[in-house]
């Protein structure tokens, strides 16, 4: 497939435009998905932490801690939640889901700090931790850790899908552009060929009967103009020759 020199810049422009759209859309997608998913997971975790906190009051005050453990074991099965721990009002750990033990970083942290924090637990991973007080904190606290790796994986998937879509559109677009360029260049090629043929025919004194002269588009008009100027040129040449002979 020959791409005409005339349209090479146009094609380059199309590539650049697609690239720009692809990159900017991906960046926007990463930002949007990252922000929204992170926020969504954080809000969900806060909601779960509050649910556990609310339902823990009765258990902590009246029942065996195995019931509390059973409760958090069910919540930790939710995708994205990596760990849960519950402390009493003195900060002692009453129930948790850590294996093989409570990480030192969490042991040394202040359980009554309820703001969302980012944690890097060596050998375990990176987490965003949210907290909720139990009975306004007088009965203890609940903390939930979300795996940021899981959120990153979700983002990667969303961005990957976006990139896949844009790449597909880009490839289809490139082939379509090449096809359109060739389609647009075809009359010009015909016209060029006609002009060359016209020149040769005139040289050899052959009369014109090309189909292109019958066309009603710009190529036909240009062909008729070329023929007109060629005939005009011939008339001028023969007048000049007659005049020179008279002299």
């Amino acid at each position: 497939m020959n791409i005409q020199k005339l349209f090479q810049k146009t094609l380059f422009g199309i590539f650049m435009l697609f690239g720009l759209i692809g990159v900017s859309t991906s960046i926007l997608c990463i930002y949007t998905v990252d922000t929204h998913l992170s926020k969504e997971y954080e809000n969900n975790s806060k909601g779960i932490a509050k649910t556990i906190a609310d339902s823990s009051v009765d258990i902590i005050l009246n029942r065996d801690l195995s019931v509390l453990q059973s409760l958090i074991d069910q919540f930790v099965e939710i995708q994205g939640i990596s760990y849960i721990y519950i402390t009493d009002e003195s900060g002692e750990f009453l129930a948790h889901t850590f294996v093989p033990g409570i990480p030192d970083q969490i042991l040394s942290s202040n359980p009554f700090h309820m703001d969302t924090v980012e944690r890097h637990l060596p050998g375990v991973g990176d987490f965003v931790e949210v907290g909720s007080p139990i009975l306004a904190g007088v009965a203890g606290t609940v903390h939930i850790g979300m795996d940021t790796g899981f959120i990153a994986l979700k983002i990667q998937r969303a961005v990957g899908q976006q990139a896949y879509l844009i790449s597909t559109i880009f490839i289809v677009g490139v082939f379509a552009a090449i096809w359109f360029v060739n389609l647009a260049a075809k009359p010009i090629e015909t016209l060029l060929a006609y002009a060359v043929k016209l020149a040769r025919d005139r040289e050899q004194g052959i009369s014109q009967g090309d189909k292109i002269l019958a066309r009603k588009d710009e190529a036909g008009q240009l062909a008729r103009l070329f023929l007109y100027f060629a005939e005009l040129n011939e008339v001028e040449n023969s007048s000049n020759a007659t005049a020179e002979g008279n002299v």
Binding site: L65, S66, S70, F98, V99, P100
Partner: protein, 439 residues
Amino acid sequence: MCAMSRRTLLRSGLGGYLLAPWLSSSVIAAQAGRNNPAGENIPDTGAVAAGLTSGEIVLGMSAAFSGPSRGLGIELYRGATAYFTEINQRGGVRGRDVVLKTYDDGYQPDPCVENTMTLMLQDRVFTLFGYVGTPTVARILPILKKFQDQKTYLFFPFTGAQPQREPPYGEFAFNLRASYLQETAGLVDNFMALNRRRIAVFYQADAYGRSGWAGVRKAAKAHGEMIAGEATYKRGTKFSGSMRMQVEILQKAKPEAVICIGSYAACAAFLRDAVDLGLRVPIANLSFVGSENLLKMVKQGRSDSRRYTDLLVNSQVVPSYHDTSIAAVREYRELIRQHNPQAPRELLKEEYTPFPYSFVSLEGFLNAKLMVELLQRLGDHPQRSDLESAAFSIKNFDLGIGEKISFAASRRQGLQRVYYTIVEDDRFITLDNWEQRFS
């Protein structure tokens, strides 16, 4: 039975239950007859008692028959079956055979919940019996409350946890064995008496582990101490798994004794790694561990197994099966030898070689013996609604182990005594002198 067909049957069972008030008694009887192959034996007495025919009383059991804790379910089943078989051969309970309908839950809560629904709504068993495990039992207690008008109780589960011993679910269960609180308190008290005050806990990261952890914490607090250190493992961990990290965590706490709240595969792995890494302190296990299976794993392929077991102490809730001076032990040994019961073949997914005798099968045997006594007290026309009053009628009853059993509304645990055992000559014997062994 495949999961799909069980689900379908479960739905039909649930539908039947929900629609029961609008169905005529004949429709319900026909439904019962379809579900029960022996339906034609249902006595023509009007109302049909669930799990009951003129020839059978069906009890429902969900336990671990597969996975790393399968030894517990299989041994408990064997002990119970030895006694039920004997009773059935002697003519059953007032002419009815005691039939144990069993399902495998692999010691996992969700399958246990599904099995319980099947047993209650599809199989319509007379009552539930011999469940295994805290995380499993803790999850099915709300089902008993939800269907409390059916008067289905859970008898003698193989767990010492508190949820089935206290409100709001305690009223739906009857326990035979001592609790984990009693077992852990006994271990802590004995270690404290030896001036081993820094007690660490190695436990299963679930409701069972937490129950034992809470027991140790409570007992240590009574002595003015805290738990010195703790490490956990995931339920289902195999003996081949490494417990190196757990041992290292506990070593940092410099414990003077370690109490393990787990099942045999993980606890055997911990014992192996603890000894290999130089943690030379007494290591205790609760009765749930399955002592014989633990010992078998620790001994496997080792000529020097003594160095792994000389600081081992296991609490038990039944007396030693070696002590033939106890009448119930003699009876247990005789019936196990005579009937040699095996686990239900259709539930066995992995090979398992049963022990001739074990603490777990002795407990299953005692559970069955008390269950039969209770069924006898229901008379010729047993009704679920009479189960509670029949249990409460048991006062100062002797199972043959020298400890009297009584039940009441405020007393839903039959036995209170905790025994301690150590390994000598590759078998568990009763520990008489803590000072001599561990000082």
